[in-house]
Amino acid sequence: MTYAFSFSWLAEYYPVLLKGILITIELIVVGGLFGVALGTACAWARALGPAWLKPLVSAYVELIRNTPFLIQLFFIFFGLPSLGVRLTELEAANLAMVVNLGAYSCEIVRAGLQATPRGQFEAGASLAMSPIQTFRYIVLVPAFQRIWPALSSQVVIVMLGSAVVSQIAAEDLTFAANFIQSRSFRAFEAYFVTTAIYLALAILLRQVLAGIGAMIFPRRPAR
């Protein structure tokens, strides 16, 4: 192998990388918050919602979980305009991440709800709480505490999956790498550095989520 590695392009292109990192972070913050919210709403609908809603939610969850994120993204960005819904690259990327994480977190939250003892619902009802109040104040927090590790790793998986949004020209970290390699012709080095950044982001995100978990659930899970 007679290839000389060179990282001198970093000096010129690091602002591009930084911008990409910021957009990737923006994507996972928006996708994470709204995705988990959507997933929680879906889990509520599946467990306690009206009967007509349940098959719809099931269909949504199964459809998203059994198709690639790339195709969901293409469908939203290229397919929806024929229905009159036109989104920018970043909006489409955000929407795809919310929809994707929504389906996965629905399953995770549902598992947490199923592990909630029946008596909790009855205890809430006996305090004259409405089903929504019981859900919000009694059931949800212990359920989230139980599923927090699973939810965290799903958020990390979705963050790594967001690399794909560069394919609709949303200017995330991977887009930055593609841009740099097309300008500097240092493809391997550009992707090597980007991969290292993703690894660091994944480790950081895991730490942040564990920190948030420790902050909002200070006690050991109730059993």
Binding site: P68, F75, V156, L160, T174, T195
Partner: protein
Amino acid sequence: MIEFTIWDILRNLLLAARWTVVLSLVSFLGGGIVGALLLFLRIGGNRLSTAFTKYYVEFFQGTPLLMQLFLAFFGLGLFGINVPAWLAAGIALILWTAAFLTEIWRGSVESVVRGQWEASASLGMGYVQQMRYVILPQALTVAIPPTVGFSVQVVKGTALTSIIGFVELSKAGTVVTNATFQPFTVYGLVALIYFALCWPLSKSSQILERKLNVAHRNH
């Protein structure tokens, strides 16, 4: 302008879906073999091999599959080989699958209670005999549902190989869209074909999990 019927579109997509199936099978089988080797390095090996497999898994689970594909595609090229897309795709997917499978299987082996190792050791069994007759048969029932479930991720993972230029279902979707200007129909059909491939796998994973009900057997 040429008119395309739904059947024209579907036929071309299905022809390309063959390559999705082939790549999925190659990745899953290859990943299974590499994953099994890594498993033995992880649980039977010394400190060095344990550390190696740990970092291996951390790398493949902590970075995007797309980046791994790019690195394989451009990295192999550094050795002066002209790398076809299918080769880079196959290698990256095999290594990626191996990382996840070895982690699933390690969990399964560790779920076999400690006393089983001690009981078989007290019967005078060696390491290989313990594995062959006591640990692996029990670990296998734990491992099967998540392994089948992971095969869904492999099928979905093959979609990314379209980005480095391997022509499979997703790439065919893009090509057909460019010819027909019907992205809604084409990507809808692509999604349905993926669903038809993945859903039976997800369902059988769920059914196996219920049937084997292994989570509560040891207690």
